[in-house]
């Protein structure tokens, strides 16, 4: 049919307009660095004076802050290398999508720091709570990221729900066990995703 090209062109236009809003900087180094930091933090935790729920929340919030700062520097370096603006519209959209859930996670951690819960069970519920909130943020940002990022968010949400249920009905976990859980869940998953992206995403200049 001679008018098929018109519908096809409209489809192409729509796809390309959507694509212009997608964040395309290389994510493999970012995920790898965040993953390594998470695993390293879990290894260091038993040797650090992190022996109360309050210290646990403070320690992992500090790790998250270091990861965020590292991610910021990596993204900035990519932008500088490509001679592009750092705060591009796709970067802004992804950051805006991440921020509500990240803020909620920060607020939850802050409550732990201020209220000082005494039972290890509280920490057992903090970790799944952080997982769910992190997953929600990643999923929201996934609308402006390459495919796969939303699934990564869903894995955190589902994992957080399962872990939360296990913590609620099972015995209270030891703090050292929770450090390993954080290392494996946040560090390990990011490292694995970073390795996967390294072999699958387009290398070189990517936004």
């Amino acid at each position: 049919m001679e008018t098929d090209w018109a519908a096809e062109n409209l489809r192409v236009i729509r796809t390309l307009m959507e694509r212009s809003a997608v964040y395309r900087r290389a994510l493999a180094p970012l995920m790898g660095a965040v993953g390594l930091a998470g695993v390293a933090a879990a290894i260091v935790a038993p040797f650090a004076p992190v022996r109360s729920p309050r210290a646990f929340a403070g320690y992992w919030m500090a790790v998250a802050a270091i990861c965020l700062a590292g991610a910021f520097l990596l993204i900035r370096r990519q932008a500088l290398n490509d001679a592009e603006p750092f705060w591009s519209p796709p970067t802004r959209r992804a950051a805006q999508a991440l921020s509500p859930a990240f803020f909620a996670g920060f607020a939850t951690g802050l409550m732990f720091l201020c209220a000082e819960p005494r039972t290890p069970l509280a920490v057992g519920l903090l970790v799944p709570g952080w997982m769910v909130l992190y997953g929600c943020g990643v999923h929201a940002a996934g609308f402006f990221m390459p495919r796969g990022f939303k699934l990564f968010g869903w894995l955190f949400i589902a994992g957080g729900c399962v872990l939360g249920a296990a913590m609620s009905f099972g015995p209270a976990p030891a703090l050292s066990w929770m450090h390993w859980a954080m290392g494996v869940i946040f560090g390990g998953s990011h490292l694995a995703y970073g390795i996967y992206l390294y072999f699958t995403e387009k290398h070189g200049n990517a936004t």
Partner: protein
């Protein structure tokens, strides 16, 4: 079928290489040359050639600047380019509508 929409189609935009450039720029305030090259998977030469054609038609403005001692080429749609692109989409929609309502 009414041939009018077919005859009104802008030949500068209606080209395999230039339509994607217009589409990308229509969805953003401006894009760097490298961003467009990567998003469209085009070669530097091919992209430059199409941008030049669009610039000559007055649809695209090109700004060259320096950022961290590197040259930065940024492209954006001009108001007339945005208007022309909007008209182009309207015409495509008319053509599709005609095809759907044709007996």
């Amino acid at each position: 079928m009414n041939p009018k929409p077919f005859l009104q189609i802008d030949r500068v935009i209606h080209e395999k290489g230039r339509l994607p450039i217009m589409s990308l720029l229509a969805a953003s305030a401006g894009m760097s040359f490298t961003e467009m090259r990567d998003a469209l998977d085009m070669t530097d030469g091919n992209l430059s050639m199409h941008i030049k054609t669009l610039q000559e038609a007055g649809f695209v403005s090109v700004t060259k600047s320096f950022r961290n001692q590197r040259s930065l080429t940024t492209c954006a749609l001009t108001p007339s380019g945005r208007r022309a692109f909007s008209q182009y989409i309207d015409l495509l929609e008319q053509i599709v509508k005609q095809a759907r309502t044709a007996p």
